[in-house]
Point group: C2
Chain length 232, copies 2
Amino acid sequence: MTANYDVLAFDVFGTVVDWHGSIAREVDAMSLGVDGATFASAWRAGYKPAMDRVRRGDLGWTRIDDLHRMILDEILEKFGVRKLDERAKRELNLVWHRLSPWPDAVAGLRRLKSRYTICTLSNGNLGLLADMAKRAEIPWDLILSAEVFRHYKPDPETYLGVAEIFDVAPGRTMLVAAHKDDLAAAKACGLATAFVERPREYGAGQRKDIGRDHPFDFHATDFEDLATQLGC
Amino acid sequence: MTANYDVLAFDVFGTVVDWHGSIAREVDAMSLGVDGATFASAWRAGYKPAMDRVRRGDLGWTRIDDLHRMILDEILEKFGVRKLDERAKRELNLVWHRLSPWPDAVAGLRRLKSRYTICTLSNGNLGLLADMAKRAEIPWDLILSAEVFRHYKPDPETYLGVAEIFDVAPGRTMLVAAHKDDLAAAKACGLATAFVERPREYGAGQRKDIGRDHPFDFHATDFEDLATQLGC
């Protein structure tokens, strides 16, 4: 049987790695007098508005490391954390390079890699994604980022850019993501789409839409499930 | 001991993989009535002039896959090969995605990866480099290409681009290459440099300067030797 797809492109934050849990744990361990989970959520909440400033052109091209740092400075102020020096702030900002994969992610990716080309399609910058993959031994065939396309998702240049890089039709490229807005934008560009649940992406107490009532090609509980559905 | 370098960036064609031998073998196996070694050399000889057209701006951004195809069409004509149809030409052009590593390359890279971040810095396009790495199991931490920078080596944007991607000083980034002109350009940008001999890059009968009389930081007979010199 010939596979119907050549390339699987993965969203990363929340889909492959647990940003909320990883950041909450690291912040709690620093004893800053703030709740790690609340701090993680606040940091992430600044992410989309910051990218939208770049997407609208209010801010020139700025990579996520620098956007994360701008947001961090704001929330340290807001949470009243004043004991970190410049070096400690820089080190904390790099927590995004140290996010841990969900328990099924690396094993599932190894299975998927045996049959498909697997790559990232993340708004994270290349250095961040490379550090993360090296640390967690995530076996990407290629790391692709908004930084390559100089456009952030959900701009069409990102989804179509993956197909162009591999010289395949958009329909033979699949976006795998835990976020329905990301998948909807990919689908509008003609890509195949797979939704992965990740119910605890925002932490234990928060709600997230993981319903099966969606127009995407696949619905998977995790990457092992996706690998099985895709014949790996 | 703290390492003096963070990132090792590798030239690919000739440094990591044996383009001449790989292409000669594949062309000989096709029984086209041409000598594979001569054909490989002719194909490669068109490479620098084609890139220089892009570098000078005579040609808009064109990736190597497309430059290789333009040169292929010319040399098929020149060698009098008329029996290939469009599909066969496309398939032959992809031989550059199937180049085999030198015998020491993957083992040496595994050792170097244990201590350093290892990436490509190649004029080859991202899809080409990803296919090559997947097939030969080359364990890059990150695949970087002229395609990311929209500049071909030896433009400074490529060498400085690697340091910028990883947010390190140029002097903590080392270019590893079998070509002294590539290394000289990297050195002029402040990168550290390592020359690797690869005496048979152009085939058995051809001469190549592998002398030790050069201004680079390291001189290695192969990647295993480089790994030893760099403390891996």
